[in-house]
Symmetry: C3
């Protein structure tokens, strides 16, 4: 992995660790619990990706820097963020969106470097991008982001397609990376700001609504 991708990967780790730490704070977890939730959020998606690909031991076992970035992020979060009111309302979804965009590209790049083709690259980008947040939401008993109506998986899938396609059309790594990040992050932030959503596939019956 070139140094650019490595740098972005550590950035994604930090923002997802931040999102996990903030979610932990909302559940009044103790410091070690905060570390666990931040870690699971930050490395969960990439771990599932590596286990499915068979590129084991998974990335963070081979490179201790990921755990160090998580520990530093948790420490800084707990030192700086002391009162709920000091956390702007959208910090968690925005951190999550940034992580989603960064990890989508990292995951797609990993699949392409193993010569697995564009479709698998999009899927690996999606797994890397949404996996950690999905585990975080399951453990916190939140409705997983992926289930809410706002555009979420869509941002990752379109980011992954942008990345694979622009490389296929001859773009350089760095260009493709920045283009795909802008696509995924732009779509997700727009969805958060204006509550955008695609038309839903709706089989909800009245009977269910009454429950």
């Amino acid at each position: 992995m070139t140094s650019w991708f490595y740098f972005f990967d550590l950035c994604g780790t930090a923002v997802f660790a931040l999102s996990g730490a903030l979610a932990a704070g909302r559940h009044r977890m103790d410091p070690f619990g905060v570390i666990v939730l931040a870690s699971v959020t930050a490395v969960g998606g990439g771990s599932i990706r590596d286990a499915l690909l068979g590129t084991t031991p998974v990335f963070w076992i081979r490179d201790p820097n990921y755990i160090i970035v998580i520990l530093l992020t948790v420490l800084l979060t707990m030192l700086i963020v002391r009162k709920p009111k000091r956390v702007p309302q959208h910090t968690l979804p925005v951190a999550d969106a940034l992580g989603l965009a960064l990890f989508t590209v990292i995951g797609a790049e990993k699949a392409l470097s193993l010569e697995l083709g564009g479709m698998i690259a999009v899927v690996m980008g999606l797994i890397t991008g949404v996996g950690g947040g999905m585990i975080r939401d399951l453990l916190c008993r939140q409705v997983p982001m992926i289930l809410r109506t706002e555009i979420y998986a869509t941002a990752s899938i379109l980011g992954g397609i942008s990345y694979s396609l622009s490389l296929h059309l001859g773009a350089q790594d760095k260009q493709a990376l920045i283009f795909a990040m802008v696509v995924a992050l732009g779509i997700r932030l727009a969805a958060i700001k204006w509550h955008l959503s695609l038309p839903a596939f709706d089989l909800k019956t009245n009977k269910q609504n009454k429950k």
Copy 2:
């Protein structure tokens, strides 16, 4: 894998994708969310199986047909099923039962082809059969099928035992496959139709009931 098993494996993928898409529709997910939930349901069990066995990259990374079957199933489901009332009440559990029976045999066969013995074959059939639906139910915040009182894991375990045993007793692959499918599907459908259940292991206290 012989062509018979491959054909049944793709059928199982389609019916589990259908069950995931219907569950997504009940939660009013957008089209990309539907694809994600259908995919997780369809390949979740087999992915866990392959990750535990170490036969990686997992099956759907090596063979793009699985993803194509899922995408087609989702597309057809969203085109054909437009109103809740058009979905017969039992479509989801019956699709789930069919997938359970198909994937139980596929999982058991995979373990036996690796010469892992009958007990591990039954376990791998169970993981392949119930894994995807379990993830679907967790993400949808439904009580996992496996936790409800009706016979569920039982159908998969007895199907797996039927498969291993009939091969052990000299049956041909195709005979064993059909026999085990009939056992697992028959038990599960009977359980759905007549609300059959085994005697429960009951430690529920009154105190808990009051909650």
Copy 3:
């Protein structure tokens, strides 16, 4: 693995299987459902560890004794424990604590035997120790232990540090194992008995409390 570690590993398997079986009884599951929940609890953490490390097939596929211990534990639990009142109130958390301590050491030992360094050893101890219980709680729709305020992850992390550190300082395997077990189990049991908790990282807003 020396016979001591193997013996402790089977003990941990039995106590976690017991905790899973008791949890299943509280949800009125049928016998095969009890087996599934007991198994997932008993081998879940170690399976995640092995999948992440790439030491596949995972441990219980290579050695059928683990499944046999689980089946015997489930059988004994269902035969002996017939009425809720006969289960002392703290049986489930105490069994869980014992499993946590045992599996923490087993997981850390596994990482050290692969020469992965102290930090990864602590993480692998944590994953092995808390993974199975986490899946059990998710499937049972309980608040995961790790999210509750009492000291939990802390006990595993401090146990893992004790193990790695005492080996580093020249202790023998058996001494380090017993010391780390005492640390982890002591901390966790004390936390259960006196409801100890570390100061929480608290970002819960009044608005959230009202929900």
